[in-house]
């Protein structure tokens, strides 16, 4: 039986980044520059991905603009018919670097913001002047005409400003905006007490998004990502393990999601040794949680099993100590008490951030 091909390739070009956001999706152990794939290998990876049926490539990081070969990679993606998306902090973006990307055929840019206001934004990024650079980046992108998505990661220290974030996105001329509550694994889990909102804060963010969706219908698309600690059911992480996404790490490891390097007792396949198609089809890392055969109870007999695919494997590992367990955020999961206790133990005052940087985890 042949597995349907992936839709998207997440190309994590580097873990280097000028920002140090405490909820970064990168693994706690960051890959150093000397181990990064070279340009030719990334081009081969894109050739293989396009041949398999991948439709979109997302250039991510770290900060992908820290790679000087980014325009070459974008041009290569366009040449093999891949829709290209740049996921950037914007702090390295200037008229010259943007023009090079536009000329190479970049289709879309997702620009991250840490807040609607400069001071708290710079504090989360741990970089003075980052917010101002992002505002300038947004203006340059809109002036160039490349469609722009703004991404805001939401947590207890900025949740009250979600209405201001939506207004900022509208004012800057974004076509899409993502209001994404922090997900709690890796750096986010390390900083959970500093980031996890309470129920009342969550409700305010949901209300702000609902109002903006009505107001901006047909003009701006708003995606909302809930903090799954407060969800009844788990999220269908990555659209199902090994079903829609392939993630290639800076060193060339091929993963079902960006956090999968935390999974123990399994080999991580590499683009240096095996073809993408072979990895997708046969690598144990991809087959181990694909579909429903691996599922324990209560997932095995749950009617939602092909909607949420058992939730997030990395979260099951991080919280329940077993990547093959039901996601503890599910109210039916035997380990759900872990999530309830984490919410109950949330301190009144948020502790200091542990910033994401080499060697700080």
């Amino acid at each position: 039986m042949t597995t349907p091909p992936p839709m998207s390739l997440l190309a994590e070009l580097t873990h280097r980044c000028p920002l140090q956001c405490p909820y970064c999706s990168n693994p706690l152990r960051l890959d150093p520059r000397a181990t990064e794939l070279d340009t030719a290998t990334w081009c081969r990876v894109m050739d293989e991905a396009a041949t398999m049926g991948v439709l979109q490539v997302h250039f991510s990081g770290g900060e992908p603009m820290a790679r000087s070969d980014l325009p070459d990679l974008v041009r290569h993606a366009a040449g093999v018919g891949l829709y290209s998306n740049l996921i950037t902090s914007g702090v390295l973006l200037n008229p010259a670097s943007l023009a090079a990307l536009a000329d190479a055929g970049l289709d879309h840019i997702q620009l991250s913001f840490q807040d609607a206001l400069p001071d708290p934004g710079d504090r989360v990024a741990n970089m003075t002047g980052a917010h101002a650079k992002k505002l300038e980046a947004a203006r340059l992108i809109v002036a160039e005409g490349i469609p722009l998505t703004l991404n805001f990661v939401v947590h207890r220290q900025n949740a009250e400003r979600v209405p201001a974030m939506l207004l900022l996105a509208e004012q800057l001329g974004a076509r899409r905006v993502e209001i994404a509550h922090t997900q709690y694994y890796g750096w986010g889990l390390l900083n959970r007490d500093a980031l996890l909102p309470d129920r009342a804060q969550l409700a305010l963010t949901e209300q702000a998004v609902a109002e903006a969706r009505t107001r901006l219908a047909g003009r701006m698309t708003i995606d909302f990502v809930t903090p799954d600690y407060y969800a009844e059911e788990p999220k269908p992480c990555m659209g199902g393990w090994g079903q829609r996404f392939m993630n290639v790490s800076p060193t060339g490891r091929v993963l079902p999601c960006h956090a999968a390097e935390s999974i123990p007792n399994v080999e991580f396949p590499s683009v240096a040794e095996t073809s993408l198609a072979d990895i997708w089809e046969n690598a144990p890392l991809f087959t181990m949680f694909r579909g429903t055969d691996w599922m324990p109870e209560p997932c095995r007999s749950c009617s939602a099993q092909t909607q949420d695919w058992g939730g997030c494997r990395c979260q099951a590992l991080a919280l329940a100590g077993n990547a093959g367990a039901a996601d503890p955020v599910c109210h039916k999961a035997p380990d759900h008490g872990i999530v309830e206790r984490a919410i109950a133990a949330r301190p009144e005052t948020p502790p200091a951030f542990r910033y994401r940087r080499y060697g700080s985890a």
Binding site: T51, Q56, E170, R175, R176, T221
Partner: protein, 99 residues
Amino acid sequence: MTGQTVPALMTEDSVPRFARGTRLQYDRVRETWFIQAPERAFMADAIAVEVLQLVDGTRTLAAVIDTLAEKFDAPRKVITQDVLALVNDLAGKQVLVHA
């Protein structure tokens, strides 16, 4: 405010084009047409493919409708309904804009 205004409804007189960052693309592996858009790709059904292949930023929708009515030997009224429903749906999704 920059950028967004509520798009005017597309009529037979309108000339649509793909917004930058969106396109119609044939997927040889799945043998299906997709509309590629920012961070999503949606499958295009048979009617959408016929219409969107005629969207070039110069043709009016009236011309698109005439072409399809002739090609499929179908009543113009029926084709008109299908075409206007489709393009206005895609305009709402920011895939098509007025040229």
